[in-house]
């Protein structure tokens, strides 16, 4: 009996060891199934520039490069990696192959397309990013004058990472300036909706606006600033035209999102009751578009309510709504003058929309949402519906 018990306890003991060994073996086996991905093997990409030249795509990636500052502390800088290929994925793969670093696109916040990309169907090119779960759909997309690589080789006086600089100019300060931004998912989606049209901001590098004394500070990159006040229009993924600065302002004026703009009114009374050129800014804006089918024709009524303020250092469109009501600061003359200017800008944008036959106001989208398949049939029968559309503009200046 005792012998049996002893045998049992020994077996139990061995079983215990066997179980522990099995656990360790399984743990090793599981761990070996995970592919090592060291941070040092990765290149964290902040922004991508895509160019198309001589039937080859060139991707310029701005990557984070940790380094040491002259004062001893660590400093984060950016470096450029370039890859070429027949397609965008191959060009990105080329970066991996030539640099030995795996481009990690999960942190990418900006895509800049070179002028050469105007020949491409952007739906096809950008679908690589938009249908990938690991890539952020909200990244800002813009197009530039010249090559994207050239823009990436420049730097702004305040921000040495070009992706951050452009993101901040186009996207973040867009509500406080008169520039407008678009993001990846919205751009592709709008191309697939009944209007089939969307836009991208145009980035222009302006070297002249930086004083000569500052230019010596950056050793490798050209110093300058970026003008993003114009937009490029795309229909069915293809480039169709560029709006002038005034047309862009007219388009932004009718955009439902908050945006800022300013106007110069001549011979108006300033704060000291002295006549001259004065600057007026938009404090708040409420824009909208009404669409209707009248007598078998589409009619579109643009309306906007604008609150104006004379420009002072503390005028900021974003916070005005939360401030107590201030007394009427702008005279009837100023209001009429601004109203006239806004109307001209909006009409210019409408005329361009009809001229290049690009529905960037998204009239067809709104019509489809209102009339459903009835509008789809109308659009099919009347592909030139913009020519037949009756436009009207109503501008209200409120206190």
């Amino acid at each position: 009996m005792e012998k049996n018990n002893g045998k049992k306890s020994v077996t139990k003991k061995y079983l215990k060891y066997a179980f522990i060994f099995l656990l360790v073996a399984v743990a090793f086996w599981i761990v070996s199934g995970y592919v090592k991905s060291e941070l040092a093997d990765r290149a964290v990409v902040l922004g991508i520039g895509i160019d198309y030249q001589e039937e080859v795509f060139e991707v310029t990636a701005e990557v984070i490069s940790p380094g040491q500052s002259t004062e001893g502390g660590s400093q984060v800088q950016s470096k450029l990696l370039v890859g070429r290929g027949e397609t965008v994925p191959l060009a990105i793969q080329d970066i991996y192959q030539t640099s030995g670093k795996n481009p990690s696109l999960g942190q990418t916040g900006f895509i800049l397309l070179g002028e050469g990309m105007k020949q491409q169907d952007l739906r096809q090119v950008l679908s690589y990013f938009v249908f990938s779960d690991a890539f952020k759909d909200g990244v800002t997309v813009a197009m530039c004058d010249g090559t994207a690589r050239k823009i990436f080789e420049t730097t702004s006086p305040l921000d040495n990472m070009i992706s951050y600089a452009l993101q901040s100019i186009i996207q973040q300060s867009g509500q406080k300036t008169n520039s407008i931004s678009n993001f990846l998912q919205n751009f592709i989606e709008k191309q697939m909706m009944p209007s089939e049209t969307s836009f991208l901001s145009e980035v222009r590098f302006v070297k002249e606006l930086v004083p000569e004394s500052d230019k010596g500070e950056s050793d490798t990159k050209t110093l300058g600033v970026y003008d993003c006040a114009q937009i490029n229009i795309f229909k069915n993924g293809k480039y169709t035209g560029t709006l002038s600065k005034d047309e862009t302002r007219g388009f932004i004026m009718m955009d439902e999102n908050m945006s800022y703009d300013n106007f110069v009114v001549e011979d108006a009374e300033g704060d000291l009751n002295i006549k001259g050129k004065i600057s007026i800014g938009i404090a708040s804006k409420d824009a909208g578009m009404d669409v209707k089918m009248q007598d078998g024709k589409p009619t579109v009524k643009f309306s906007t309510q604008i609150k104006l303020r004379k420009m002072k250092t503390d005028v900021s469109g974003n916070v005005m709504d939360y401030l107590p009501k201030t007394p009427d600061e702008v005279s009837g003359y100023i209001k009429d003058n601004v109203k006239k200017q806004v109307k001209e800008l909006v009409n210019a944008a409408i005329e361009k929309c009809v001229e290049i036959d690009c529905d960037y106001f998204e009239i067809a989208n709104k019509m489809f949402k209102t009339y459903g398949n009835k509008w789809k049939d109308y659009q099919k029968e009347n592909p030139d519906y913009l020519q037949k559309t009756q436009f009207s503009v109503e501008i209200k200046i409120i206190d």
């Binding site: 399984v26 086996w29 599981i30 761990v31 070996s32 199934g33 995970y34 592919v35 991905s37 902040l46 990690s104 999960g106 942190q107 990418t108 916040g109 938009v130 249908f131 990938s132 779960d133 690991a134 890539f135 952020k136 759909d137 909200g138 990244v139 800002t140 992706s163 951050y164 993101q167 996207q171 973040q172 993001f183 998912q185 592709i188 989606e189 697939m192 909706m193 709104k366 489809f368 949402k369 209102t370 009339y371 459903g372 398949n373």
Partner: protein, 441 residues
């Protein structure tokens, strides 16, 4: 296994199970079938599920402590019951298998983890297995621990995305006719009917007056949350929704566009993933129970063997079969879905009738009618000769006592209560004392 579960735990489980796992490939899949109206298809399926849930709750109310296998064996014959349990087992296993494949895709794409199926599933199965073998009570506790965090992360994902959402993307409503909406609902039906897990808790849940309302309320809350997330997803992605493979990765990735903030959304995704683990535990527990009923297994060792076999299927099947294609083509869009309708809709709808018939079958042993008490014929639920089951329930019959302490004329009764079944010396002495005083009286 300890399968007795508290009402609060059940309520939290209901919310987690309804919402958990429905934000992976399902919104994209439904958008493929019903486009921008897929949220209506989803609502329709939830309404049907709610009706089924009401029938299940009715059955639970009618039930007198019997478990599902007893009810089905009583009414559909042992063979019929075993067939139903086999379908249930396949249903639960395929649901979780599909869900975990999607989860792996989400983990790979959002957390940039490069791994293979085995290295992903084995640790998951170990965690799930530990909880499955502990029983339903353990899942309930997990729900209590994790609910708050999961709920907060779902809300954060919802509200962070809300400001970017263009709700006019849902218009025009039902433009392509209701047929498209119905087709979308039909093709996605396999991914619904989550509340059927409740039938496996029959006989293990303590009910009170508001039990039905609370559970239905939890279901409605979970359904509203899921539909809201689907609406936000459709509003954000419009025409592109149908191309998405993982709605959660898409929506969370959308939230933070500025790289200076990093990918804070990943934290929410990871927390939210724990709801899938909880759902997997619950469904695999139900699958284990189904198989144990088929083979009449009652020991813990037996449950462990069954779970081991399920694990093997989980590891091997996705490697040798194109499982995702099979689920999409044969079940969702093919005839396979009708096969599962029997356990998704037919059994829940018939359950009150089956429970009634089962109760009727064992009526001669019924508690209430055999006791001749002065007040309500309500018996003390502890009898001589009654055995106690592993889950704390009383099985068998014995002499009964009335609530007022008076002896009953009846000699046999069956118990469904537990209040007098407490273990411990004090309770045993108390019971004995009651019995003696009752006999004296």
């Amino acid at each position: 296994m300890n399968n007795s579960i508290k009402q609060t735990q059940l309520i939290l489980l209901m919310v987690l199970v309804i919402a958990g796992g429905k934000f992976l490939s399902l919104p994209g899949l439904m958008a493929q079938f019903a486009g921008r109206d897929s949220w209506i298809s989803m609502t329709l399926l939830f309404v049907i599920d709610l009706v089924c849930l009401c029938f299940v709750l009715w059955a639970i109310k009618l039930n007198k402590g019997k478990q599902l296998n007893e009810i089905l064996t009583d009414t559909l014959s042992p063979v019929g019951a075993k067939i139903i349990f086999a379908i249930y087992a396949v249903f639960f296993i395929l649901r979780i298998m599909g869900g975990l494949i999607d989860t792996m895709d989400l983990v790979l794409s959002s957390l940039s983890v490069v791994t293979n199926w085995i290295a992903f599933i084995v640790p998951m199965l170990i965690v799930i297995g530990f909880n499955v073998l502990k029983g339903a009570r353990n899942v309930g506790r997990l729900a209590q621990i994790f609910f708050f965090f999961i709920f907060i992360s779902v809300l954060l994902i919802l509200f962070l995305s809300y400001k970017h959402a263009d709700f006019s993307n849902l218009q025009p409503y039902v433009a392509d006719g209701f047929g498209v909406v119905a087709k979308g609902a039909l093709n996605a039906s396999f991914w619904f009917s989550d509340c059927v897990f409740l039938v496996f808790l029959m006989g293990s849940v303590t009910t009170n007056k508001l039990f039905g309302i609370k559970i239905s309320g939890a279901f409605v809350f979970g359904a509203i949350l899921t539909v809201m997330l689907d609406i936000v997803f459709l509003s954000l992605f419009g025409m592109l929704a149908q191309y998405s493979t993982s709605a959660l990765a898409k929506v969370s990735g959308f939230n933070l566009t500025s790289s200076s903030y990093g990918r804070l959304d990943w934290i929410f995704v990871v927390i939210w993933l724990s709801s899938i683990v909880i759902k997997s535990i619950l469904f695999l527990w139900a699958a284990t129970m189904s198989i144990s009923y088929i083979f009449n297994v009652k020991s813990k060792k037996g449950y462990a063997i069954i779970y081991g076999v399920i694990c093997l299927a989980f590891i091997v099947m996705p490697l040798i079969l194109p499982l995702e294609t099979f689920i999409d083509d044969f079940i969702c869009q093919g005839v396979g879905k009708y096969f599962f309708f029997s356990v998704q809709y037919l059994i829940p709808l018939l359950l009150p009738l089956l429970t009634y018939l089962s109760n009727k079958k064992s009526k001669p042993q019924s508690l209430q009618e055999d006791c001749d008490c002065n007040q309500n014929a309500d018996c003390m639920q502890r009898m001589e000769g009654a055995a106690t089951r592993g889950n704390g329930q009383i099985e068998g019959s014995g002499n009964c006592l009335c609530k007022d302490g008076a002896p009953s004329d009846a000699r046999l009764c069956e118990s469904n209560g537990k209040q007098d079944d407490k273990k411990g010396l004090f309770n045993r002495v108390k019971r004995l004392w009651k019995k003696i005083t009752a006999k004296k009286a």
